[in-house]
Subunit: 311 residues, 4 copies
């Protein structure tokens, strides 16, 4: 068990995609290569089973396979964070215990969803999960997926009671991110791909960018520059990465959904770079089409990215 | 296996609450009594693991216990529908297979959530679930929980391809309910507590009212009157039930959430009537307070309901 | 001044479109023909300056012209309702006084918008408007445009204090419509094009269907059949009108907005029928294209509608 | 006429509240004092008729009075921006022409609302307004009020065609604010009270903080520090102002609306400081109560603010 008081997430912790094979099962070889690619780039942790990891679409066996491969491949080199994302407290506890048993160093938990909770019930949710599991809990603010905000009041109360050890903020709302930093000493990581340097300048402990799947070297450079106070260099890297981030909006939303377009673009880019073998996403997401893939390749090339392994 | 072509849900099919004991586990004795109470009232089916059943808050063991008790107690007297409610296709398939293995006659499935699907991906979701399980699939339109609508176009396409055998409509939108009835011959059940007679007049096959937990006799009378064309009698019953439905809005939403207030009121009413032993809901929902319980008792009494068993 | 206590809106009261000429000004001749067409069909009132009348897009001179022509043409044959739609109380009072001065028999008022009011402030809004103007106030529940609901609690309080004389319900929510009918004796008119007969069966006083611009004869037949208890005839008419209502969804929403498509289809249909000369809508709405117009013509023909005047 | 090409808003441009007297009319003396207070603090412009100015609640005479007093009092010392906020193009043009006639140097215009426009129609809206008026147009992105976003694509297209001369961003979304700064050379002003220094570090041309009504000296110091590259000083000022900003959330939202609480707190603070005579807001907003006013006074005192004039 990792003690709550010593777990201190920081740096670049990419929310990894879940590579699939031609049968729709977890592609263990591709996941191993993705992990090696990330570690080689110098990431400070990995986060599996997040939104970018299609957590909402993975079944029990897929979640287990992802964690087994990840824990085994990482082998303690960096912390492994695992999403324990589900609608209610007892469901989350089940996921969290499973993740802990498989070797995760921390679990990442959202507000309840499907139901409509009161803020006091959101606090209860995190307290109960914390009390029931032996690994630290990272709070995950992602209103676009779960609708309910983790407000600064909620986060502050959870931080003070030690129910959570960190915040992953995917709200897009820097004002509340900053308020949390003002009111607590909780490590706060931003999920923003395009305001990473800004979040660092406000005191972020680290970055959890989905685009980090595709270009971990870029985010590691950005993080280290910002950490060392060189915000001009961080900004230059950020501008390049913001241009690269356009791959997530290439998909025609008249044909496939937003999630399919964004997560599909990460996988398509990784396949094109040779890191993973197949760009497939889980059902019911539909794939990108050839024209879209071609635009993504152009954006990758313009951002200076190339193949890291022959196909 | 129940053949898709012969499963024809109709009549009153209450979405049952999940009684809990003082330890938060499924209270099997109370569930048995609830089932007997419903069957005695003349319901035409039961639906477990729906929104009223706190499906979003039940863990694996609780879901299993609910289905075991239900299938065993009902013993074939009426069909047992089971919610297979989760965020993505493979997760839903897991739930649906488990429900089928435990004896459910059909599974009830929502649009994907947490993710943002395209309508075409919603269609894919239902097709895949249908192809993967051996029980009929009922589509569950509940945008308040999952945000995505099952539009008449989606429902029509799924009905024509036989991927679904019925619709449970909890959208509150009678215009689209009616359009589905115009465009398909799919059995459509309404989840509305207060427009049940109206839905019947538009051609609904049946009723799935959460309030049916508390007063199944009322909804059975309403259904039978409407089915037999006596809409004046149905309306009189509906008006009484609409007044009773106020129990769901007694809770102070400054203190607990909407879900806690609504589902808590069903359980509080059933406990007061002596059907179940404890009004407890799953974490993280907070309980109603004494003042609220007192108002609920007054409403129950005004609606002509009393204790069915001594405490 | 029309006394509050005697104004009793009922029957078919179409929310008229605002015909424009080739310069974008109110086309008085076309409006006169539209009014004659409606009166000839037997409508029980007309509503100008509603959502279908592009009230949000009309300037002061256009609003004045519409009311002048309408009051002059109708000449007391039926009541003239005028929208006094604006963001705040004093703005609404200005519109309402202007409408009263121009001869409107009642004004139709929404909840405040742009701002975020508390329900108690919504009540204050209507009370203040009522106190400041000499014509009766009809409450207009249209959350799709203003976001704030006129809940049954709000409507009941306003009805009891005589601040409003009627409700026009464009919420799409028959459950709350019915609750208002249960709790008050306020005349309630539905804005639904496709649940008109249902609303009548629940006790609606009348209909305010945008589609009534195109086919007033149909809605007059529907209303009279329902009023006289012949719901089978009302339903047959409703089914035909529901098919006709598809004209509002012909527009490609990748190209123009929802409002442009819906209001544009009413005007296109009226132009095709020969009632108005031009289908133009106000800026910034974009026009339907030829392919869309062609589909609309097909739908009109299928619904049995033809030209009422040579082009 | 101010030529589009020379109008270049920058610096601190507070969106002024509209002081009212005991009869609810514009309190010209208080407004003069507010303007003097702002000019004395060193603001670079003033913005009347914005959201903070209760534009949605002002009638024609109030809008006229505000502009007359403002243009007269400012007397060319700094530019006067005037909101031309309304639902549709022609309505906005009316307001804009009136503002120009009264001496405004620029008008501030939102996306259309009440209607649901397509992005292409939003572009048309601004182009038409620009073509119809003789003063420069500033685009105002405020989705919380109008729902429709001014996306970077829209803003870029309008900037390139010279239809707008600046952006006022009240979206709370720094990612898109930054994208606009990357893609255009349009002056962009942030409406954020709590990320003003951050916006400056990203390249903002200036600040339009509602809280600037209460503490213009603070925002002037913040702006000048950031402009001169002293971000540590800017941050210290920002932290103080963020604490002060809590006055906007003191109101009990169970009793009055969000708008009433926020705008009411600005006016209460200005009245307490002795700048304006009455804290009254326009109907239908309800006032703060004594307990809330007391909390606001404590926050003001803690932020180092005092009376600037004896009561």
């Amino acid at each position: 068990m990792v003690s709550d008081t010593t777990f201190d997430p920081h740096g670049v912790v990419p929310p990894l995609v879940t590579p699939l094979d031609e049968h729709g099962e977890v592609d263990r070889r591709s996941l191993e290569r993705l992990l090696a690619f990330q570690l080689d780039a110098g990431v400070d942790g990995v986060f599996v089973g997040g939104s970018s990891g299609e957590i909402a679409l993975l079944d029990t066996e897929q979640r287990r396979a992802v964690l087994e491969v990840t824990v085994g491949t990482v082998a303690g080199a960096v912390p492994v964070l695992a999403g324990a994302v589900d609608t209610g407290t007892r469901r989350v506890v089940e996921h969290a215990r499973q993740a802990a048993a498989l070797g995760a160093d921390a679990v990442v938990v959202t507000a309840p969803f499907y139901v409509e909770p009161h803020p006091a019930e959101v606090v209860t949710h995190f307290r109960r999960v914390h009390a029931a599991v032996d690994v630290p809990v990272v709070a995950y603010d992602i209103p676009s997926a779960v609708r309910t905000r983790l407000t600064p009041d909620i986060v502050t109360e959870l931080a003070e009671s030690k129910a959570i050890v960190a915040l992953k903020d995917s709200s897009g709302d820097l004002a509340t991110f900053r308020e949390v930093l003002r009111r607590t000493d909780l490590p706060a990581l931003t999920g923003s791909e395009v305001l990473a340097d800004t979040a660092m300048s406000l005191g972020a402990a680290g970055l959890v960018p989905g685009l980090g799947n595709v270009d971990p070297h870029g985010y590691v450079r950005l993080y280290r520059a910002a950490r060392d106070g060189d915000f001009a260099a961080a900004k230059a890297e950020q501008d390049r990465l913001a241009a690269l981030f356009r791959i997530t909006t290439v998909a025609d939303l008249r044909r496939i959904g937003f999630t399919a377009g964004a997560l599909g673009s990460f996988k398509a880019a990784l396949a094109w770079r040779g890191v993973i073998d197949h760009p497939a996403t889980n059902a019911p997401l539909h794939p990108l089409d050839d024209a879209e893939l071609s635009v993504i390749e152009t954006i990758l090339t313009e951002a200076g990215l190339g193949r890291v392994r022959d196909h």
